[in-house]
Symmetry: C2
Subunit: 332 residues, 2 copies
DNA sequence: CTGTTAGCGCTTTCAC
DNA sequence: GTGAAAGCGCTAACAG
C-alpha cells in the first residue's frame, strides 16, 4: 500500500508538503503542488485515515446504533443517515446491536467521534458514560430519560401526542376494546433505568383511562420475535370481550398482525381494526394501506448529522422536536 | 480518554505488560496480570483500535457494500452479516453507495481489511484494483465478470437456473406475453465492464426465445426510482398484445407493481400474474404471498464472513455456489 | 517473566 | 514556501 513517504520521495519534497497539499493546510508553491498532485495520481495514493485519526484523535467515523434491523424503520433511517454522513466526509457504520450487550464494547474500541442512538435499550447512565468519554451523542428518544448529560442532543418527536390522536380517532370510530401489541424493547431495562416510560404505551393507557375503560377493556402484549405474533393474536381472538381494535407499537408489527388475521379469515378493518406507528415507507405501499402515525422520518437524517457535527465541532446546538401526525389508511 | 500509559503507571508495570495482558500474547505472572486487570477495570480502559490498527495494519473493519438499501433484500443481508462479523471481533460498516462513485473513495481511506460486495456496479477492473491493494474481497455476483483476480472469492447462487425454472412455470401456466421489469443497476456500467450479462435477464430472454417468442411477446423495462413504476405499468396495460405475466427483477419491485395494479383495479394473479425474485422475508409475509425464487439468503452471511476471514488470514478457500428454488405463492 | 525500544503513517509546530 | 522532528497509542522483537 503506497504511503505518503513514497509520494514525497518521488515528488522530491518533504512529507510535510504532501500533507499541506492534501489538506490544503499551508501555502504551497503552485508548481510544487502540481508536481505532488501528479505523483499522487500516478501512484494512486490514498491518505490513511487510521494514521490521521491517531494523530488528530478524530476518527471521522460515526456509528448508527439500533437494535432491530428487521423492522424496516431502522434500515430506512440508516440509509438516509449514511448518505448525510458521507456528504460531510464521515464514515457511518451501522450497528444492529440486537439484545447483545457485549457488542457495544467492541464498537467503543473503534473510538467513533459520535453515535446516533436510535434504541431505547440504553440507560441514562450508559448514555452519559459515552458522552463523558467525549463521544458526541444524538439520541432519538422514544421514552423518558432522567438526568441526561447536557452534552447529549435529543431528537424528540411528539409521539405521545401522535398516539393520543390515533386513540381519539379510534374511540371516535366507536372502538371500546383494545389491544396494544408492541416490541419488547422498552421493557428489558425497566429496572436498570428507573422509569423508562414509553410514550406510545403511556398515551395508549392514558386515553383508554380517560374514556373510562376498565381493566377488561384493554390488553397489553409485547413480542420479542415475530413468530410470537400468531400466538398472541390467537389469544386475543379468544378473549371473552371481543377486541375490536389492535394498536401496534410499530408498522412492522401491524403488518404481521394483519397478515395473520387475514390468514385466519378475519377481515381488516371490518372485523378488527389494526393501526401501525411510524409511517415507514411500506405503510403506504403494501395493502391494506396502514392507518398509522407519520413521524416525518425524512427530517431525521439531516437533523441527526447536523447535531452530531455541531457537537463534534463544539458549536452550540439545541434539542430538536417536531410533531407527529395521524395518517388514515385502510386498516382502521 | 484513558490510555495504556496510565494503566501501566497505576499498575506499576511497563506498557508492554499491559499489552501482554490484553492480548494474551506473552507470559505474565498471575499476580501481575490480576493487578493489571484490576486497574483496567477501575479506569474503564478500552484499547484504542485505531492505534492498534496502525501498528498491525489490520483495521478489523469490514465493509458491506451495496447500492440500494431501499430494497429490503440488502438490509436483511446486512443485519445478518453484521452479526456474523461482530461474533468474529470485526466491525462491519454498511455502505449504501447508491450510484455515487465518489463514496467508495472515502471508504477506501479507512483501510478496511475486507469488503463484501453485494452490488453489480463495479467493473472487474475496479474489483481487481481493490484486491491488489490487499483488501480481501468477497463478491456476491449476479452477473458475469471477466478476468477477476484469483484472490477474489465469489458467492454464486444459481440465479440463471432459478429464473429459468420460474419462466418454465409461467409458460406451463399458459403465459405467452411477458414483461421483465428490473432495477437499472446492471445497465449503468454496461460499456465499462464489457459484457455485464445479468443472469436474471438472460435466463428470461433465453426461455422466451426457446419457446419461440417473437419481439412482440415480451417487453423489457428498467426502473431507477420507485415512482417510475406507475408509468411503466401503465404503458404495459396499454400495449396492443396484452401482457399476462410481469416478471420483476426482485421482490421489492414486484410488490410495487402489484400495489399499483391493484390500485388500478387490476387483479393479481387473475388478470395479470406477477413474480418476484430473491424471496426476501416480506415475500411470505405480505399479501399476496409472492411467487418468487428463493435464494436461501440465510446461508449468505456466514459464508461471506467465513470467506472474508479466510482471505484475510491467508488460508485457502474456494468459491461457494448454491441453488435457487422457485417458490409458488399467490401472485402467479 | 518484564522492560526498552523502534516504528506504523500521519499532522503540526517551529525553524530556516 | 519548505523541511525536520516530535508524538498520537499501540505491538513485538529483543535484551535482561
Amino acid at each position: 500500500m503506497v504511503s505518503r513517504k513514497e509520494v514525497a520521495e518521488k515528488a522530491n519534497v518533504s512529507q510535510a508538503v504532501v500533507s499541506y497539499v492534501i489538506n490544503n493546510s499551508n501555502y504551497v508553491n503552485a508548481k510544487t503542488r502540481e508536481r505532488v498532485e501528479k505523483v499522487i495520481a500516478e501512484l494512486g495514493y490514498r491518505p490513511n485515515m487510521i494514521a490521521r485519526s491517531l494523530k488528530t484523535s478524530q476518527s471521522h467515523h460515526i456509528a448508527f446504533v439500533c437494535n432491530d434491523f428487521n423492522n424496516p424503520f431502522f434500515p430506512q433511517i440508516a440509509a438516509d443517515v449514511t448518505k448525510a454522513a458521507f456528504e460531510n466526509g464521515y464514515l457511518l457504520s451501522i450497528n444492529d446491536l440486537g439484545y447483545d450487550d457485549t457488542r457495544i464494547e467492541l464498537l467503543l474500541q473503534y473510538k467513533v467521534d459520535g453515535m446516533f442512538i436510535a434504541s431505547d435499550l440504553f440507560t441514562s447512565e450508559e448514555i452519559n458514560a459515552f458522552a463523558q468519554q467525549g463521544i458526541a451523542i444524538v439520541l432519538f428518544s422514544n421514552r423518558k430519560y432522567h438526568n441526561l448529560d447536557p452534552s447529549v442532543a435529543c431528537i424528540k418527536i411528539d409521539i405521545y401526542d401522535g398516539m393520543s390522536r390515533l386513540m381519539i380517532y379510534l374511540l371516535g370510530k366507536g372502538h371500546r376494546n383494545f389491544a396494544f401489541i408492541s416490541s419488547a424493547r422498552f421493557e428489558k431495562r425497566e429496572e436498570a433505568s428507573g422509569a423508562p416510560e414509553n410514550y406510545r404505551y403511556s398515551a395508549f393507557k392514558d386515553r383508554v383511562a380517560e374514556w373510562g375503560g376498565s381493566e377488561e377493556s384493554f390488553t397489553i402484549e409485547s413480542v420479542v420475535a415475530f413468530d410470537q405474533i400468531a400466538d398472541i393474536v390467537n389469544k386475543l381472538l379468544h378473549k371473552r370481550t371481543k377486541v375490536t381494535a389492535i394498536v401496534a407499537g410499530n408498522d412492522a408489527i401491524a403488518f404481521m398482525i394483519i397478515e395473520y388475521l387475514q390468514s385466519r379469515g378475519v377481515r381488516v378493518p371490518q372485523d378488527v381494526a389494526v393501526t401501525g406507528f411510524d409511517a415507514i415507507r411500506y405503510a403506504s405501499i403494501f395493502s391494506p394501506k396502514l392507518t398509522t402515525v407519520d413521524l416525518h422520518l425524512d427530517w431525521m437524517s439531516q437533523t441527526a448529522i447536523t447535531l452530531l457535527l455541531r457537537i463534534i465541532r463544539k458549536q452550540p446546538y439545541k434539542h430538536v422536536c417536531w410533531d407527529s401526525e395521524v395518517r388514515i389508511g385502510d386498516s382502521a
